[in-house]
């Protein structure tokens, strides 16, 4: 295994089970509308906040990487991604790819609810054989609000080469 990949594996194993918390702030209807437009959505219930049956696009919350505001100095890697987005990879010469996601919704999110996210690295697996070995990292995420509990849960897979 390449030294950089081995370093990711070592770091990731140390991070297993550690729960991180992030605040995503209040989720606004206008922002969810812009998201739906960019995603090519056609359902007016996801596009028009003035409708009585408007819904925040369920994919918006799980697609948000951060809350409002610009990245702080030093918060991004040279490739533009947040340093802590893929556990154990900060500063290492590795290629990252999104492998997939599994999402389960528990209830709809209402406009202006204040959302907290938890993240936990739940598995680290080596796949393939040298020189094409890679790591598969699975991160469990949960989005919830203070008053109304869990909105959606996800498991996201990252491939590290």
């Amino acid at each position: 295994m390449r030294p950089a990949l081995w370093a990711v594996r070592t770091r990731a194993l140390e991070l297993l089970g550690r729960v991180e918390h992030r605040s995503l702030g209040p989720v606004r209807a206008a922002e969810a509308r812009r998201f739906a437009e960019a995603a090519g959505e056609t359902d007016p219930r996801l596009l028009d906040p003035a409708r009585p049956d408007f819904q925040l696009h369920p994919m918006y919350l799980v697609s948000l990487l951060r809350g409002p505001g610009h990245p702080r100095p030093g918060e991004l890697r040279p490739d533009g991604m947040y340093r802590d987005e893929v556990p154990g990879t900060d500063g290492l010469d590795v290629l990252l790819m999104a492998g997939g996601q599994d999402l389960t919704w528990h209830r709809p999110l209402r406009p202006d609810e204040y959302v907290e996210q938890t993240r936990e690295l739940v598995s680290v697996r080596c796949k393939g054989r040298a020189p094409t070995q890679f790591l598969v990292l699975e991160v469990a995420k949960r989005w919830s609000t203070a008053g109304h509990g869990v909105v959606v849960e996800a498991t996201e897979t990252f491939l590290v080469r």
Binding site: P58, V62, L65, D79, G100
Partner: protein, 127 residues
């Protein structure tokens, strides 16, 4: 299960402007989505569509079949190959019963050449 077993195709062609807007709305600054030179240096053909945007198209196929976005209970997908701006993406699929009041939708997203970009599934409530 009164809705058709085969899903009507759902199509979207995200252009570079759509990727910029999607990246801005999700606060995703990763350069592989908007910096062609950087993307090519990473071994890609050019900027690539965000994984979550692919997920949105799968979600839309499931929600349209179910008749209401709120009826989508779960959704999952695996990325198979990157796609770039300007390429039409098409989601097709078929439905099978998955228990009382639930239907499983097996989903496939393909590009203009028919190659798979994502394979996925959704579970939706029927009422």
């Amino acid at each position: 299960m009164s809705a058709p077993a085969e899903l009507p195709p759902v199509r979207y062609t995200p252009d570079q402007a759509a990727l910029q807007r999607f990246g801005a709305s999700t606060r995703n600054p990763h350069r592989i989505h908007y910096d062609a030179g950087f993307a090519r240096a990473q071994g890609l053909a050019g900027p690539v569509v965000m994984a979550q945007l692919h997920g949105c198209l799968l979600f839309r196929a499931a929600a349209e079949w179910a008749g209401d976005p709120g009826r989508v209970v779960s959704l999952g997908w695996r990325n198979r190959a990157p796609s770039g701006p300007g390429a039409e993406l098409t989601v097709s699929g078929h439905a099978t019963p998955a228990g009382p009041g639930l239907v499983r939708l097996d989903l496939l997203e393909t590009g203009p050449d028919g190659a798979a970009h994502c394979v996925g599934y959704a579970v939706v409530r029927t009422g």
